[in-house]
C-alpha cells in the first residue's frame, strides 16, 4: 500500500511540475514562435489547452509543440511523442545487462577514448586520439606516456577538438590548434597554464577531420555530421538503418549539435540527399528553407558517401553485442565516412522533427 501511495504521489508531483513549467513557458514570448507562421494558427486558448493536456497525460512539458507544427489548425498530434518517455524507451533496451550480472557495452560509446581504441582495433574509421589531458599532464595515446601539458606546444600542426571524456551534446567541446607558435582555443589565444585550469576533468584531444567540400559548403567552421540511427532487427543479430538526419552548424559555431544552435534537416538514405526544410531547436530559431549563413537550399542537397556511411555504421553496431540501438555521428570526409561517435541515448526529437514517418515506425518497435 505504501509503495502504491508513493507511486501515485510521485506521479502527481511530476504532473504538477510539468503544468507549472508549461505555465512559465507559455508566459515567455520567445518560446511561442511558430515554425509555420504563414499557416492558419490555433487560437491561444487552444494552444494552452493542448499544452496542459500533454502535461497531465505525459507528465512532461511539450518542448517540441511548435517545432512539430502542432499550433497549426488541423495538425495531427499523433506525429509527436513524449520526449522523455521516448528517450526512456530507447535507453531501457540499451541498458539491459548483457548477462545476469549488470554490465553492458554502453561504456564503449560513452568513453570517447575507449570508442577510438575499440573502433580502430576493429577496423572502423574513427578520428585519431592524440592525447588525454588532465590538469597540467598530457598522456599521449596509445601508450599513455605522461608528459607536461606544455608538450602541446611541440605538437606541430596541432588542430583538434578537446572533448570531455564522457561528455554529451557538444557540451565543453573546444577547438584547439597551434598557429604561428601560439595556442588557440576556439580561436582565442591561450596558454598552457590557462588551459590546465579548464582541464579539471579528463579531456580527450582528438584530431580534427576535414569534411567533404559538399558539407563544408553548407557551413565551413563546423564539421557537419550525418546522424544515423541503427537498430537491431527482431532476430537480435542483424542491424538495419532506422532514421537519418544531417546536423549543420550555424552562425560560425565550430560544433554542429542541435542543442548548441545547429540546424537539422532530414536525409533520404536511398536518394542520398537532404529533405528540407531545416529546423533550429526551440529558443534558437525556427524553420529555414535555406542555411542561414551560406544561403544554400536545404531541400534536395546531394550528400556524398551516404551508402558507405550506412554500411560502416551497420558494421560497427554489429561489433557491439547487446546494444539495441545506436545514434551515430558520422563525418563525411573527402575519402569516405568516419565514425565520430555513437550515442546510446540518441535524440528522438531530431527524427520526430525531420522525418514524418518516424513516430509510426518508432511506435511499431517500442510501443
Amino acid at each position: 500500500v505504501k509503495r502504491l501511495l508513493r507511486a501515485h504521489l510521485r506521479s502527481l508531483s511530476q504532473s504538477w511540475r510539468a503544468i507549472d513549467t508549461t505555465r512559465a513557458r507559455l508566459a515567455a514570448p520567445d518560446q511561442l514562435h511558430s515554425y509555420y507562421p504563414d499557416m492558419p494558427r490555433k487560437p491561444k486558448w487552444r494552444i494552452t489547452a493542448d499544452h496542459l493536456l500533454w502535461a497531465v497525460r505525459y507528465r512532461e512539458v511539450h518542448r517540441f509543440y511548435f517545432t512539430h507544427g502542432l499550433d497549426r489548425i488541423g495538425a495531427d498530434s499523433s506525429t509527436s511523442l513524449p520526449y522523455n518517455g521516448s528517450l526512456k524507451l530507447v535507453g531501457a533496451r540499451n541498458f539491459g545487462p548483457t548477462t545476469r550480472t549488470k554490465y553492458n557495452y554502453v561504456g564503449v560509446l560513452r568513453d570517447k577514448a575507449l570508442f577510438g581504441i575499440f573502433g580502430e582495433a576493429m577496423g572502423h574509421r574513427v578520428p585519431r586520439n592524440v592525447a588525454l589531458l588532465r590538469g597540467d599532464t598530457l598522456l599521449s595515446l596509445p601508450g599513455r606516456t605522461p608528459a607536461p601539458l606544455s608538450e602541446l606546444e611541440a605538437l606541430t600542426g596541432l588542430d583538434g577538438f578537446l572533448k570531455p571524456l564522457d561528455g554529451r551534446q557538444g557540451r565543453q567541446v573546444h577547438r584547439l590548434r597551434l598557429e604561428g607558435g601560439e595556442l588557440l582555443l576556439d580561436g582565442e589565444v591561450t596558454d598552457c597554464s590557462a588551459l590546465s585550469m579548464m582541464l579539471t576533468v579528463p579531456f580527450l584531444l582528438q584530431e580534427r577531420l576535414s569534411q567533404h567540400p559538399r558539407l563544408a559548403a553548407l557551413h565551413a567552421p563546423s564539421v557537419n555530421t550525418l546522424r544515423l540511427v541503427t537498430m537491431r532487427a527482431p532476430d537480435g543479430f542483424s542491424v538495419e538503418p532506422f532514421a537519418a538526419a544531417l546536423r549543420i552548424g550555424a552562425h560560425g559555431s565550430t560544433i554542429d549539435n542541435w542543442a548548441a544552435g545547429g540546424v537539422i534537416v532530414g536525409v533520404d538514405l536511398s536518394a542520398a540527399c537532404t529533405i528540407g526544410p531545416g529546423f533550429f531547436k526551440p529558443g534558437r530559431g525556427t524553420l529555414r528553407m535555406h542555411h542561414p549563413d551560406s544561403g544554400i537550399a536545404l531541400d534536395g542537397y546531394a550528400l556524398p558517401f551516404v551508402h558507405d556511411a550506412v554500411e560502416a555504421a551497420v558494421r560497427f553496431h554489429q561489433d557491439l553485442p547487446g546494444l539495441h540501438t545506436v545514434g551515430w555521428d558520422i563525418a563525411l570526409t573527402p575519402t569516405g565516412p568516419v565514425m565520430i561517435e555513437g550515442n546510446e541515448y540518441w535524440d528522438t526529437a531530431i527524427h520526430m522533427t525531420t522525418d514524418p514517418s518516424f513516430v509510426a515506425r518508432f511506435r511499431a518497435i517500442y510501443l
Binding site: 548483457t98 548477462t99 554490465y103 554502453v106 561504456g107 560513452r110 568513453d111 577496423g123 599513455r144
Partner: protein, 359 residues
C-alpha cells in the same frame, strides 16, 4: 495481486522443501573434522536466514557452516562483503546507466584497453568463431575449419568468467592438441561456442612453475579504490593440481596466502572447502607452501595499482597476474572476484576491505 501472492507462496514452499532436504543431507566433506550441528539447529539457521534475507544461503554447506563451532555471523560477513563488492562495482558512472565492467568482462576489450594504456598483457594472436578466424599479426581472415598456422596458447571465450570454456590449444605441423590430447578439427569446432580469442601462452617464472608446471599459477591481487587512489587489499597465489591446465580455485586448484611485503607464501594451501582439506605441501610436487618465495611481487602490485588507476569508476578488482622471468603480466581482471578465497586464507581481509570501502 492474487498472482503475486501465489508466486510468493510457491517460492516459500520451494524454500521450505529445500530447507528440509538440506537438514537431512549428510555432510559431503569427510575432510572437515568435528561433529555436525543437530538437524534442528541446521533447519533453524536456514529458516532464520531465509526469513531475514529472502533466500537461502548458497555457501552454507560449501563453507562448512553446518559444523559445530561455526556461526551464522561469519556467513553474514561474507554476505556483507559480497554486497559491498557488487553494489560499489556496478554503480553507474553518470545519470545514464553505464560503467566500465564490460572492459573487464570482454577479453577483447580488456586487451585493447590495456595495450592502449601501456599495460603488460598476454598477446592476442587471433579472434575466431566457428566460421572465420582473423589473425591479428597480419589481419588475414580465413575459414576456421582450414586454419593451419602454428600456435601454442589458450583459446578463451571473449565473454566468460571462472575459466569457463577456456582450453589449451596447440597447432603444429598439421597436428592439433586440445588440453594436451590429440584432437581433430571437428573437436575444435564443437568447443567453439560464440566468439573466441587465441592468446599466446605465458611462460611462468621457475619459482611458480616448480609448484605445478602444468598450469599457469597466478597471483590474485585484490585492489580497491580509496580516497588516496587504488590500494592493495589482499594477495594470494593460486596453484593448479593434478596436471590440470587451469589454476582456478573452483576448478580444484589450491590457494595460499601471500605476503606482499616479502613475496613469501604464508601458512598452508587450501582447497575450496567442498573440494578438499588444508595442505601444508602441494599434493603433486610435495613443495611446502609456507615460506615459498614468489618473485616480482612488488612489480606486480605496482602494475595492478597503476592499471586500476585507469579504471577508477570500478571500486574493487581481483587481478590475475602471471609472474614471468621478465616480470608480471596481467592475465585478466575480475569485478566478480572471489571473496571466500581471501576470507579463508587471510584473517584480516574482511576488515581491510570494509575499511577501504568506507574511505
Amino acid at each position: 495481486m492474487a498472482r503475486s501472492i501465489r508466486r510468493r507462496l510457491r517460492c516459500l514452499l520451494r524454500d521450505v522443501t529445500q530447507i528440509a532436504e538440506l537438514t537431512r543431507r549428510t555432510s559431503p566433506y569427510p575432510h572437515i573434522e568435528g561433529p555436525r550441528k543437530s538437524h534442528a539447529r541446521v533447519g533453524a539457521e536456514l529458516a532464520y536466514w531465509r526469513l531475514r534475507h529472502g533466500r537461502l544461503p548458497s555457501f552454507y554447506l560449501a563453507g562448512g557452516f553446518d559444523r559445530r563451532g561455526t556461526s551464522l555471523g561469519q556467513l553474514q560477513v561474507r554476505q556483507d562483503l559480497l554486497r559491498i563488492r557488487d553494489t560499489r562495482n556496478h554503480t553507474s558512472t553518470s545519470w545514464t546507466k553505464f560503467n566500465y565492467i564490460a572492459v573487464l568482462r570482454d577479453k577483447q576489450l580488456f586487451h585493447l584497453f590495456a595495450s592502449a594504456h601501456g599495460h603488460r598483457v598476454p598477446g592476442v594472436i587471433a579472434y575466431l568463431d566457428d566460421a572465420t578466424v582473423r589473425w591479428t599479426t597480419d589481419d588475414v581472415v580465413q575459414p576456421t575449419a582450414s586454419m593451419a598456422r602454428p600456435f601454442d596458447g589458450f583459446a578463451k571465450p571473449l565473454v566468460g568468467i571462472w575459466g569457463q570454456g577456456a582450453f589449451r590449444l596447440e597447432l603444429a605441423a598439421g597436428e592439433m592438441r586440445i588440453d594436451g590430447r590429440t584432437a581433430a578439427m571437428h573437436d575444435l569446432l564443437s568447443r567453439i561456442n560464440g566468439r573466441y580469442m587465441l592468446q599466446e601462452r605465458v611462460v611462468q617464472h621457475e619459482a611458480c612453475a616448480v609448484l605445478h608446471p602444468h598450469s599457469l599459477n597466478t597471483v590474485r591481487i585484490v585492489t580497491a579504490v580509496t580516497g588516496h587512489g587504488p590500494k592493495v587489499i589482499a594477495t594470494a597465489l593460486r596453484v593448479g593440481v593434478g596436471g590440470s591446465s587451469v589454476d582456478n580455485w573452483g576448478a580444484g586448484g589450491i590457494v595460499a596466502a601471500l605476503d606482499a611485503s616479502t613475496g613469501c607464501l604464508k601458512g598452508p594451501g587450501r582447497f575450496r572447502p567442498d573440494i578438499g582439506p588444508e595442505v601444508d605441501a602441494h599434493p603433486d610436487t610435495k613443495i611446502r607452501f609456507d615460506g615459498h618465495r614468489v618473485p616480482h611481487i612488488e612489480a606486480a602490485v605496482s602494475a595492478v595499482t597503476r592499471f586500476h588507476a585507469d579504471l577508477p569508476s570500478i571500486h574493487s578488482i581481483g587481478w590475475d597476474v602471471a609472474i614471468t622471468p621478465a616480470g608480471p603480466v596481467v592475465i585478466e581482471a575480475n569485478d566478480h572476484w572471489n571473496v571466500e578465497l581471501h576470507m579463508l586464507t587471510d584473517p584480516g581481509f574482511a576488515q581491510r576491505f570494509v575499511k577501504a570501502s568506507t574511505q
